[in-house]
């Protein structure tokens, strides 16, 4: 079951291209102030992840990778961004708070993290032996960008976007190291992530209800 485009394109360059889109979309999310734009960045991030998984499936001819790639596209590329957008639409406060760190500063730090990830991953894993060696530094860089997004934004929903970006990065690492995990495990992981995002969305609403703002900087009632 080969994919015609996969034969037509030199596959490894196609994977590299998609990996570039993966990293750039994460950086795009980091450099945007509006939550809606960050969610769009995440959606592109997921779609490129699904694309990479599809290309890997085309190369390895493994049926379970085809199925897993389709699931990634459906859950991460479609369902989770939809859930996030619906949560955003339900919020009553429209004004978006200033980030803890200005956008240019966090973009600069994001760039530094990418450089760090590339240099250190090479050190640890050497020039890779798998066909997806280039993906590993990108996945480490994206994980760091996701974490940076989580700690620099006051909006509760942005923390969720950072978290799902981090999860995407781990998925890319799984695909590039081992061509993904067994299908049943992959399905369980995706289900957990989907339910997790739904729950987090629910609590974003409850935070706004209880604290009159969906900003986490108000969450200071529990101490000691």
């Amino acid at each position: 079951m080969n994919f015609p485009i996969a034969e037509w394109l030199p596959t490894s360059s196609a994977i590299n291209l998609l990996a570039g889109v993966f990293l750039l979309s994460a950086l795009y999310a980091l450099s945007q102030r509006r939550t809606a734009a960050c969610i769009a960045g995440y959606a592109w991030n997921s779609i490129s992840l699904g694309g990479i998984a599809l290309l890997v499936a085309a190369q390895t001819h493994a049926r379970h990778i085809w199925f897993a790639a389709a699931l990634v596209l459906a859950v991460k590329g479609f369902l989770i961004p939809r859930l996030l957008r619906r949560t955003l639409a339900r919020l009553k406060t429209r004004a978006e708070a200033e980030p803890f760190l200005s956008i240019p500063a966090s973009s600069l730090i994001g760039g530094a993290l990418v450089a760090l990830a590339f240099s250190q991953t090479r050190e640890l894993f050497g020039a890779g032996t798998t066909i997806l060696a280039a993906c590993l530094p990108i996945s480490v860089a994206t994980a760091l960008v996701g974490l940076l997004l989580m700690v620099t934004r006051p909006q509760a929903l942005m923390m969720v976007v950072g978290l799902v970006l981090l999860e995407n990065a781990i998925f890319l690492a799984a695909v590039s190291l081992t061509y993904g995990m067994p299908l049943v495990v992959e399905m369980g992981v995706l289900l957990d992530i989907l339910v997790g995002v739904a729950l987090l969305g629910l609590f974003v609403g409850r935070i706004e209800e209880s604290f009159e703002s969906a900003d986490i900087s108000r969450l200071t009632s529990l101490k000691g």
Partner: protein, 487 residues
């Protein structure tokens, strides 16, 4: 096969039944009966493992060795006590103005879903399934933590979800790295995720990646187990949840996450030798004890005090495994059991007392013994146990750990741990004498029927009985569990 699968399915089926029979009076009986069934099957499984050795079932997805059987028994015991007590407690809570107003049966269903995910995590052999089960336990319990309609509960649930989700994502990376380290041994087949298979080929795994995997598992599952400095969600979540859920979180969920970490430790020991991961466990164990102790001294809220005490006790078990001698490991396993019994007792008796006094602030509590003799006695047993005094079993297990540490030649760690335990003793003695003795401020009426004391008496008896008499089979099970971690 015969015993694992029903054990893994008992709690989720109970959850479905609780929803189905939500409106009827059979719901309470189903909830308690389901928890009792989990405990009975766990005990049967432990017996089977003791007499016939470890078993692998369901195509390698599930397995039971002494460690998982011991953990399943802990989960079953805590689950039964919390469900039993929770039956009268939640009926009373459901009338309060802060109650969530959930549909009948929803609380019980979520409780059993949480219980079920913990049991599956205990008997999972596939590390991917282990991850899925532990993440499911986060999701199941987050709604329970946010049960009350007050800002504090929302804040606690949010922190819990976010921090544990980030942690568990790192644990997923650890799982992937371990899978990758085994590619040389298994190729791309699913066997590379099975713990038993990984254990058998451990010396041939790629050491660099095993080390890295352990590190990520330590941060990932360590967050969920409440190891400092990743423990910050724990006092909030455990103090804001309804009391039976607090007990389940503190006594069973922390133990499950810790055992998940110990599975990675066991592989690291067999692959790169004990020095690497044991050193890290000693460090994080001591750090958890040291961080928790000052917060216990200055604490004003009863449930937060118990939550910090959980950080301290989890740290002690982590330390015990890190010390590494057979005696310390035995003490660590014993302490896992004892902490579960004592902490469940302390939370549940606090639920009755707090409900009657109308506050969880400890400065509002006084004269507990005079207020109610049975609750006062149970309260004192809980305090004596948590402080690690004889004749309770916690004294024995803490003593075993310290002795084991000296045998392993790690005097410095033992001295630091003893200092922390001494301060804990002083702090608990101070809080408990102030609360238990003296005159009650206001007339006290137990908000719950006297039948709610029955699970508490069972827990108190167990915690004292194990301090003076350790049954042979239980000792054998704990010794075998210690050898699962370190041969």
């Amino acid at each position: 096969m015969l015993w694992i699968l029903p054990l893994a399915l008992a709690a989720p089926v109970t959850a479905a039944l609780c929803l189905a029979f939500g409106g009827s009076r059979a719901r309470a009986r189903i909830a308690i009966g389901g928890a009792a069934l989990v405990l009975a099957l766990a005990l049967r499984l432990a017996w089977r493992v003791l007499s016939g050795g470890p078993i692998v079932a369901a195509n390698g997805w599930l397995a039971a060795d002494a460690l998982s059987a011991l953990l399943a028994c802990i989960i079953g015991g805590v689950g039964l006590a919390s469900a039993w007590y929770g039956n009268s407690y939640m009926a009373h809570e459901g009338q309060g103005h802060e109650s969530a107003g959930w549909a009948a049966g929803r609380y019980e269903a979520l409780f059993h879903l949480l219980l079920g995910s913990l049991v599956v995590a205990a008997v999972a052999n596939n590390l991917g399934l282990l991850w899925v089960a532990i993440e499911a336990s986060t999701l199941g319990s987050a709604l329970l933590v946010g049960y009350y309609r007050r800002p504090g509960a929302v804040e606690a649930a949010w922190k819990y979800l976010i921090l544990c989700s980030v942690g568990i994502t790192l644990a997923l990376l650890a799982t992937v790295l371990l899978y990758y380290s085994a590619v040389g041994s298994f190729g791309e087949s699913g066997a590379g995720l099975q713990w038993t298979a990984l254990r058998d080929v451990a010396p041939r795994l790629e050491p660099r990646f095993v080390r890295l995997a352990f590190l990520f598992a330590l941060v990932g599952y360590g967050t969920k187990a409440g190891l400092a400095p990743m423990h910050t969600w724990l006092p909030d979540a455990h103090s804001q949840a309804p009391t039976p859920v607090s007990a389940l979180l503190s006594a069973a969920l922390l133990a499950t996450a810790l055992v998940a970490l110990l599975r990675f430790h066991a592989l690291a020991v067999r692959c790169v030798g004990p020095a690497y991961s044991e050193g890290l466990l000693v460090f994080f164990g001591l750090a958890s004890m040291a961080v928790a102790v000052p917060f216990m001294v200055i604490q004003g809220d009863y449930k937060r005090l118990l939550a910090y005490s959980s950080v301290e006790h989890t740290g002690l078990v982590t330390l015990a495994v890190g010390l590494g001698s057979p005696l310390a490991l035995l003490g660590g396993m014993f302490h896992l059991v004892n902490h579960a019994l004592a902490k469940t007792l302390a939370f549940l008796v606090g639920g009755s007392l707090g409900g009657g006094i109308g506050s969880r602030r400890m400065d509002h509590w006084s004269g507990v013994i005079e207020s109610s003799a049975p609750l006062g006695a149970l309260f004192v047993v809980a305090g004596v146990a948590l402080a690690g005094l004889p004749p309770t079993a916690l004294f024995l297990s803490e003593w075993l750990v310290m002795l084991g540490g000296l045998r392993a030649g790690k005097q410095a760690a033992v001295i630091v741990a003893l200092l922390a335990l001494a301060v804990v003793f002083v702090a608990l003695a101070f809080h408990w004498t102030r609360m238990a003795l003296g005159k009650p401020r206001a007339p006290f009426t137990d908000p719950l029927p006297a039948s709610s004391h029955r699970p508490l008496w069972l827990l108190a008896t167990a915690v004292i009985l194990l301090g003076v008499w350790l049954p042979g089979p239980m000792r054998a099970l704990m010794e075998q569990a210690a050898r699962v971690i370190k041969p």
